[in-house]
Symmetry: C2
Subunit: 350 residues, 2 copies
C-alpha cells in the first residue's frame, strides 16, 4: 500500500482569521502585547480553526493504549499487567488524567488499540484492538507494516467518529508499559541521536535498569536500522500500536482544523512520526509541557515546538496536555471576551 | 506607632498535614514523583492550610487600585485617568482579569485605596480610599508614614472581611498607572540594585521614556535614601497606596493560613516589603509567573520564589496569578481525588 493514500488533505493555517485575531488583539483593553504568549496562541488558534474568535466547547483527550513486547526486557518499573489495570482506573475515573480532564470539561476516551488482555466493554472505552501487544522489538519487528498502517488509520477514524460528537480541541494521551522505550527508539531513529542521550527513566527505573534500557534500544536499532525518512518503517520496526494510533489522531485532527495538544515523551515521538509523514501537520501541533524525561527537550527542539511550561512531570496519559488546555482556552477566551478600548471608554494615548 | 503592632501572628507551615499529604502522594496511581511540581505544590498547600487534603472552593483576586504622583513624570504609556477607567472596566467585567477569574471561578474584588478620582459605588468595588493618589516621589515622600501604615492595615482588614464570605486562596492584583516605577524603586531600595538593572518598560514605553523612567527612579532614591531594612520607610517614601494594601493582604492572608498567589512586578515588590516586615510570611507566598518586565526574575530570585511558568506576560491586574490558580487547584485536586493503588487494584512492583 502506498503510505500517501493514508494521509488526508491538510490545509495551511488560515491567514484571514489570523489577521482578524491579530487586529482585534490591538483593540483590547491592555497594553499592546502585554498578554505575551497568550496573544500569539490566540492568533495561532484562529489560524488553525479558520475562525477569528475561536471557542472550544468540545474538548477531548484520547488515550491510545497498547502493550509492548519489549516490556519483557525489564525496561519498566511496572509489570505489563499495569497497562490494562490503568485502563480500568481511567474508566473508573480514578487516574490523574480524569481529575485534570474534569477541571477543563474535556471528555476522556480510551482506545484499546493493542492491550495484551481483553478489557470488558465500558463507557468511554473504544475497542479497536489490532493485536495483543507488539512483538519484542529487540528480537524482531514490533509489528508488520500492515499493522502499522492500520494503527494510523485507526487514529484517523477515531477523530472522524469523535468529530460527529463535537470535537474542537484534542489532547494526545498514551498508556502502555514499555512505551518510553519504543518512543526513545523512534526518536533516535528519526534524529540519528545516540540512545544514551535520549533514553530516560520512564516510570522511574534506577541506574542499572536505565543502562539496560539504553542497551536494549541500541541493540534494537542495530537490528532494524530503519531509514530516518521512512516513518512507517520506523513505526513498524521500533514503534508501538498506540504510537501509530497517535500518529493517526494527529493526521485526522489536522485535516479537520482541530488543534492538537501534544503531551510528553511518547506523544511527542508520535508527533515526530506524523511530521515525517506529512510536514504540513506541524502548524496544528501545540506543545504543552517539557517533561522530565531525558530527551524530551531535544525532541521538542527537533520539532521546533516550544513548550508552554515545565512542571517536571513524567506521567503521560495526556496529563500535561490537558493541563495546558486551560491556558489555550484562556488565550481564546481573552481574545473573544475582553472589551475593546472603545467599548470600555479607556484612553489609548497620552 | 510601632510597626510590629500592625503585624498579626503568623504560624509556621503545618508539618503533620504536609507529612500526611506526602504519604498519600506515595499511594496514588502514578509512578512516584511523576506529577513533579504538582506533587510538591500539593504538599505545600497542605502545609499552608494545615489540611491533609485541601480543597479551594472560595478563591478571590483582590485588585488594589491607586494612583501615583510620579505619573506626572511621563513614566507610563498611558495617562493617569486610565487607572479609574480600568477600574470601571473591571467592574463591567471587560478586562483580562475578569475573563481569567471566570475560568477558575474566582471572585474579583476591586479596592479603591487611592485612585485619583471618585468612583461611583458598584458591586465588587470597595471604597477604602486613603488619598487621591500619592505625591510625586521624585519631589518628596510618596505618602506619610501614617498613610503607609493605614494602607497596610487596610489590606489586613480586607482579608478579614473577605474571610467572612469564605476565602481559601487569594490572588494579588494591582492597578495603578505609574506603579511599575514605584515597584522598581522599592525593589532597588530593598535589594540595593541599580535602577538600570530593574526598571522595565511597564505598559510598554519606548527607549527615550525608559531612560527617563530610570533617571526618575535614580533621582527618587537619591532624594530619600530609605533604609533597606525599614519596609515602612521604603513604602512611605517610594511606594504606592495599592502596594501598601497588597502588603496588608499578604500579612492578613498568611495569618489566616490562606495561600497567597503572587502575580507580576508590582505584587512581587509588595511581597518583598511583606517579607522584610515579617519573614515568617514567606512560606505562604506562591509565585505564579515570571513576567516580561525587566527585573522581575531578579526580585523573584531575591525572594527565593520559583515561578510556575513564563508566558512573557506584563499586564498586572492579577492576570498571571489567576491563571496559576488552575495549576494550584489541579495540584490539590489530584491529591484529593486520585485513586490509590489499592483502591484501583493496580500492581505496584515487578
Amino acid at each position: 500500500m502506498d503510505i500517501s493514500d493514508l494521509i488526508p488533505p491538510i490545509p495551511p493555517l488560515d491567514d484571514a482569521a489570523m489577521r482578524a485575531a491579530r487586529d482585534r488583539q490591538q483593540t483590547l483593553t491592555k497594553p499592546l502585547g502585554s498578554l505575551g504568549h497568550l496573544e500569539t496562541l490566540s492568533i495561532h488558534l484562529a489560524g488553525i480553526t479558520a475562525t477569528p474568535r475561536p471557542r472550544f466547547a468540545h474538548k477531548a483527550v484520547v488515550i491510545m493504549s497498547a502493550d509492548h513486547g519489549v516490556a519483557t526486557e525489564s525496561v519498566s518499573a511496572y509489570p505489563q499487567e499495569v497497562t490494562a489495570q490503568m485502563v480500568q482506573n481511567f474508566l473508573r475515573r480514578g487516574a490523574a488524567i480524569n481529575v485534570l480532564a474534569r477541571m477543563v470539561a474535556a471528555r476522556v476516551l480510551i482506545v484499546d488499540i493493542g492491550v495484551a488482555s481483553d478489557i470488558p466493554p465500558a463507557d468511554g472505552l473504544l475497542n479497536r484492538k489490532i493485536a495483543y501487544g507488539t512483538a519484542n522489538m529487540a528480537k524482531g519487528a514490533a509489528m508488520t507494516p500492515d499493522q502499522a498502517s492500520q494503527a494510523i488509520r485507526t487514529g484517523i477514524e477515531v477523530v472522524a467518529q469523535e468529530a460527529t460528537r463535537g470535537l474542537d480541541m484534542l489532547a494526545l494521551g498514551d498508556m502502555g508499559i514499555g512505551n518510553t522505550t519504543a518512543a526513545a527508539a523512534i526518536a533516535c531513529a528519526l534524529m540519528g541521536a545516540a540512545p544514551a542521550d535520549i533514553v530516560g527513566r520512564g516510570t522511574g527505573v534506577g541506574e542499572t535498569r536505565l543502562a539496560h534500557k539504553i542497551a536494549t534500544v541500541t541493540q534494537t536499532l542495530a537490528l532494524h536500522r530503519p531509514a530516518s525518512t521512512d516513518a512507517l518503517e520506523v513505526l513498524a520496526t521500533v514503534g508501538g500500536l498506540e504510537i501509530g494510533g497517535l500518529v493517526g489522531l494527529i493526521l485526522g485532527a489536522a485535516a479537520r482544523r482541530i488543534p492538537v495538544v501534544v503531551d510528553g515523551f511518547v506523544t511527542t515521538a508520535a508527533a515526530m512520526l506524523a511530521v515525517t509523514l506529512a510536514p504540513q501537520v506541524k502548524p496544528y501541533l501545540i506543545a504543552s509541557h517539557r517533561s522530565q524525561e531525558q530527551g524530551h527537550a531535544q525532541i521538542l527542539a527537533w520539532l521546533g515546538l516550544p513548550p508552554l511550561f515545565d512542571y517536571a512531570m513524567r506521567l503521560g496519559e495526556g496529563s500535561g496536555a490537558v493541563l495546558a488546555m486551560h491556558t489555550l482556552e484562556a488565550a481564546a477566551r481573552l481574545l473573544d471576551e475582553m472589551a475593546t478600548f472603545t467599548e470600555a471608554g479607556v484612553s489609548t494615548d497620552l
